[in-house]
Symmetry: C2
Subunit: 519 residues, 2 copies
Amino acid sequence: MNGAQRLLTTLTESGVDVCFANPGTSEMHFVAAMDDVPSMRGVLALFEGVATGAADGYGRVTGRPAAVLLHLGPGLGNGIANLHNARRAGSPVLTIVGEHATTHQQFDAPLQSDIAALAGNVSQFVRTTNHVADLEQDARDGVAAAIGPPSGVATLILPADVSWSEAGEGSAPSNSRTATSIDPADLKAVADALRRANHAVILVGGPATREDAVRHAVRCADAVGAQLLSETFPPFTRRGAGAVAVERVSYLGEFAASQFAEADLIVTVGAHVPATFFAYPNMASDLVPDGAALMELGVSTTDAQTTLAALAEELGAASTPGSIIEADQPEPPTGALTGASLAQAVAATLGEGTIVVDESNTGGIYLAGATKGAPSHDWLTLTGGAIGYGMPAAIGAAIGAPDQRVLCLESDGSAMYTIQALWTMARENLNITTVILSNRSYAILTMELARVGARSDAKAAQELLDLENPTLNFVSIAEGMGIAARRVETADGLVAALQDSVAKPGPMLIEAMLPKGLS
Amino acid sequence: MNGAQRLLTTLTESGVDVCFANPGTSEMHFVAAMDDVPSMRGVLALFEGVATGAADGYGRVTGRPAAVLLHLGPGLGNGIANLHNARRAGSPVLTIVGEHATTHQQFDAPLQSDIAALAGNVSQFVRTTNHVADLEQDARDGVAAAIGPPSGVATLILPADVSWSEAGEGSAPSNSRTATSIDPADLKAVADALRRANHAVILVGGPATREDAVRHAVRCADAVGAQLLSETFPPFTRRGAGAVAVERVSYLGEFAASQFAEADLIVTVGAHVPATFFAYPNMASDLVPDGAALMELGVSTTDAQTTLAALAEELGAASTPGSIIEADQPEPPTGALTGASLAQAVAATLGEGTIVVDESNTGGIYLAGATKGAPSHDWLTLTGGAIGYGMPAAIGAAIGAPDQRVLCLESDGSAMYTIQALWTMARENLNITTVILSNRSYAILTMELARVGARSDAKAAQELLDLENPTLNFVSIAEGMGIAARRVETADGLVAALQDSVAKPGPMLIEAMLPKGLS
């Protein structure tokens, strides 16, 4: 058994049985070993950002890491944007980056670069395996680091000669790390502060926004009359009928400031101290009102569900959340296709158990309201702000939850960063409906250009924000990658296309022609 | 005048007047300033790797840096693969990466990451401008660092508040760096060793492979009967009738070893010590024969042309190269489309002054031979091994040399990494003919799988190297991005399509259907 075979065996024994891959020469032994370890499912991506984004989506949906196989520094570079999103989501991901053979690195061959420096930017664990004897333990440590808590991106750098060297027999598995318990004194201090505050805000983020944890956060808020907010971009939330209602912090700092304006205490649970997404001239980045106290209920090394349940207990909360969202599905819309009617069409056709991957940006501002009472569904958002996550994450979601339909709501500008994802959807025949929200512009940047106080009417600037001349035809692009596709120009047309797309398995793309620019 | 306006003014004063851009919110003042500095040409890319690859191509063709505008760490991440190629080419490139405002960085907002760590991987100059008063000098230093010698990638990190702050008036331009002269003693030592050697190899790379320099290298080799070799992947070479013939080191180590086998002296000029591209089990990476002496004629801080001219002088070389390639253009081929007939079709239709951007990989192995006596043309290669450089570099070449036709020879697998380049070709109406060499596989990896000694017949491995199921349709993809496109299945068809593509300005894509797999 060579190193690559040992690595793949170790991964599958550790529960890692999907590998999103875009390999090169230094990974050829790993590729060859795929046939020796048939329980590992290899999924080819034609661009590395598709592979890393898929692992992000898979990790969010399943709570388990997939492996991602990348080729040297440039391959990792291409995958960094979506690893950045995975890092911000706290998604468990095991990145395996092939490196030149240990004996070859002295020659500074053309593809040589500092892989560890790149990996450090997005990983909470980076290790280079320079000896095949260390490979099994390094792999187990990498998987454990990815799972956490805290969950996140772990990167293993794998020289080619470690893959091809004889690895001998495997050793007994070591234990993975386990969650620690929250300190009872910390819990009591937070509970006391919540009871004393006139206007407390509980701000949940990351693992604390998942269904199993956030229900306890609602119990806590109910018990003390606190305001509950979620970070703007939660990784994976349950929504629709039967879920608890959690208001998200607005992306727009002006509105976000008003959400926190009354607070004299902010308790963060898995969330950052609240601040605006970007800075703007003459606007504060800090969203914490003057004089408000800040407390953190750390969940980075504990299980968020257990911790929030314990806080609810400490607060003497009722055993279930006080308010649950009731079913309220809108009628299918007709007439013109706008941001509002698009949202209504999505809500009217949303099937129970759908996983929505949302990268709709400005075109999707009506979605949250319209889908509030739709059948129970899950929702992924752009956690790290690096656009191009949607279609790749949809791949990972569909592979992680093969019995659920995935609805990918994708802006046209964002879609182009990882457009290669369509081919992988076709090859794997995944149950994904991709809706392209075509407004032929980087509409959010048109808005931001005005918000930063820059002139927004001038020609040269507008040309850098406009996606026309030529107009992208996503039907043609999708068909070129083997995906059935259809353009719709009315709300009725979108409803019909959405209904058709779920009527049979496999992928479909719908290009929804919205009015140009901001909705 | 704000910082962004000052920066753009400084850049155009320094001769940087093209900016390949994929901006975001933190770059909005830079974008707005484009209308205040109309001599700067903004070119929008829909993916950052297109922008960085375009700057690489532009730098190789013009010898001058373009600016590249990127959005924070993830934007730089997406651009890293082609900056890696630019670094290996020694292309002058000025990368400008927007950063959060200095006051905002403390909040670790979702898009925050360590930009300098990423930039350091590909840049020979990295500077963060934290005060607007430093911006003009930092920009001048960045441009000077990009121009060199040595030329390369310089990165300026630009916080948003530095862009929007009042910048005051400009200062007088400082001097940029100038080339140093080669030490006469070094020159004499190399000359003496060349005269004494039984079998000397002069190995040129980087700037020493450019037309103006390499002619002197041929004079040197002629004078002492040395063997002249070029590195496998030179950045920008003159070829065809009237050029000097320089043999490239083979990509395949087995052949490369035989090219160096007789050497008792290897003099590198702008080149690495010769080694294989990758390592392989039971094969040496080092291509230097046992006992051969190594000498380096440094050209990193000198002008390669001047240095090689001085060496020729020292050697008492004839004033012109002894052998010049004679015109020998093949007839247009007919019949089946194969690697050989494709090369013949390219050679038969190649117009004088064409710039060939070559990312043809295995499908293009007959090109060098077929085009040897074609009309004078320039040739760009994949210097850093990070695939996806071809179409972006073609954009930069076409913008840098608007009066020359660009022929981009692009493998299907490689094309998909930066397929968004087609849209920018259309928007800018660039004179680029893109030929997709479709063999429906990562053929080079099929070869490498066998070369590393791994089994190559098994199903799971083959699925990670195969580009069918579904088959990509590049005509459909190109049309979706606004490019006229045509599929050809015969050699005659390819000849006709190539002739048509040069008959009128603007871009065209030709999908050339080769036999599946290795040629």
